[in-house]
Amino acid sequence: MSRLRSTPLRLTATLVVVFVLFTLAGYATAYLVTRTSLSREVNAQLEQTVDMLRAIAEPDEIRERIGEIAAGAQPRDLLLRYTEPGKPVLGNLTVPIEASAYRVIGHDAIPRPSSTLADSYLAWQGPVGEGRLTLLVGRDSLNELGETFAKVLLFSLVPALLLVTAIGALVARRARDRVEAIRSALARLTSGHHDARVTISGRVDDDLGQIGVAVNRMAEAQEASMEALRQVSADVAHDLRTPIQRVAVLLDRLDDGSLTDSARGTIAEARAETAHIVATFQSLLQIAQLEGGQARASFTAVDLASLAASLADVYEPAGEESGHRLEARVVDAAVVSGDRTLLGRLIANLIENALRHTPPGRIQLIVEGGPAPVLRVVDDGPGIPEGERSRVLRRLYRMERSRTSEGSGLGLSLVAAIAELHEATLTLEDAAPGLRVSVCFPG
């Protein structure tokens, strides 16, 4: 049934069904009309013969006429029998049969070889002159009508139906392929392939061609604006990093060993602040770039389990230094489609966030494999009040408004952006006590 999801195919199928029903209705009407008029003709023939014989006054003349009619009649068209008391039986029907007026009787009721008979007859029986007349008029023309219509149906409608179905399927398939080309180009565009275009096969000036052209135009505009955004961020990156680099150079020059300890301390602080500016700036730039979705184009298979294990390894001693016990619980391999560096950054940011915002305690890094892998970072710290959780993810939002707390505040925003790029959902839950951050990847 999935084929019927294609609009052109469904429309064609509907059209073929409508065509067949309409044609059949037309044939049926024609058949009924023709049949009625033929039936009337048979009736008329019967009535005419009876009326003609009844109009004759002389019994001898009646017998004469019946003799003539019987001699000239084909059994297939007409059978008659005339009995008069005391006279020989006349007509081509040798055996008497019982029939009431205007009844249809089959040929099996007549004791004659059926090859010479019609399939059925319209009968009349009644007194004519001194005797009694039995008259049967053949109804073969009516039966033949049905056969003729069946033949017409077979030789005209069936080929027409086959032809219409074949052409319809062909046209529908072509239309479906064109719709499919548009659909797949749109799917590629939304998954970050900004160079994807609709291959326009067939006419450009019809509706599907026009949609294809419009999609391509939109994609070009989008690509151009993405490129412009890229260029702007590249320019901003260059314009800001060069002066920051200069500050680093100047600080290096200042620190030539002739300074007092306090002056060198100030220089170290200035360096740390510079690093902080760079980190914030870098996160902003990355979030902006991730939202473009281009990075999806270079996704590869990444084993979350081994990545998480190696990051737990990296942070374990640093965690111990601050009194945190970092435990990695990795059950089995969990492969997702993604960017290894970005996923590493996501895990690192979650670990750093836990290290920074919780008092000494346990931090668990859990990877659950399976078709839809989940990464969890669970701490046993104070957690985040329910009302604040969604705001925590918002860009530039800081839990503590004071500047005393370390970190750029962009850490979790970057985590959210990386998760979104990977079509993963990020949830913050109460771990009672503590905070559980879960990143659920699509299956």
Partner: protein, 223 residues
């Protein structure tokens, strides 16, 4: 070594040149992309340091052109960009290493030194040595002055990395890349804590310090 620096910002360029000259290298500085490409192609350099964004000719184009001409000179690409794909793009173009601005000189110096071509060892060593320390790569045993030292796998990997590049500085980011395969800068001082653990086992029980801290750069085991 003979080094060519192509960098359009004079202050930064001069900073790199001064530092490298102080270390005893012969250094040329060019600020224009196409001039830089011609000079680089003229050859004779051991290492190129190329800024990614340059007037007249982009740094990436320089790398691609040189690689297209099959010039094998090692190239360190400096960049103000640090998007997701920028690093991959740089390496795909044929650069050997990639350094994001702003950097400290120590990082640049360590990476330039790491890029310099050395004759490959005749055969893969099975034992690495530094002074009285021995690391057997097959049995994974480490001894110092005859005493066995028990190391965790990551500590072993860290020590191995420093020993293999004996005499050369390994920066924090270089260690993260080599030992853990991580290509970003964590905000926490993770490498310092790892090195201090390693020192606790390798240096502390003995008289002489083996792992040196190079200020503003990283760590080194002297040759």
């Amino acid at each position: 070594m003979k080094i060519l620096v192509i960098e359009d910002d004079r202050l930064t360029g001069q900073y790199i040149v001064d530092g490298l000259r102080e270390e005893g290298h012969v250094v040329d500085l060019l600020t224009d992309g196409s001039q830089g490409l011609m000079q680089a192609a003229a050859g004779g350099y051991d290492v190129l340091v190329v800024d990614r964004m340059l007037p007249s000719l982009d740094g990436l184009a320089i790398v691609q052109t040189l690689r297209g001409a099959r010039l094998p000179v090692p190239i360190l690409l400096l960049t103000a960009l640090d998007g997701v794909e920028d690093r991959i793009e740089g390496l795909n173009a044929g650069a050997d290493d990639y350094l994001v601005k702003p950097f400290v000189f120590g990082e640049l110096s360590a990476r330039v030194a790491a890029l310099a071509r050395r004759p490959p060892p005749a055969e893969e060593p099975t034992v690495l040595r530094a002074r009285d320390l021995e690391m057997n790569l097959l049995t994974r045993r480490v001894t110092r002055a005859g005493q066995a030292i028990d190391l965790l796998p990551r500590e072993f990997a860290l020590l191995e990395c420093l020993l293999r590049r004996k005499g050369r500085v390994q920066t924090r980011t270089m260690l993260l890349e080599t030992v853990w395969g991580i290509h970003f800068d964590p905000q926490t001082n993770v490498v310092e804590t790892h090195v201090s653990r390693l020192r606790g086992k390798v240096d502390k029980p003995f008289d002489q310090e083996l792992i040196e801290t190079v200020r503003g750069a990283g760590y080194r085991i002297p040759a």
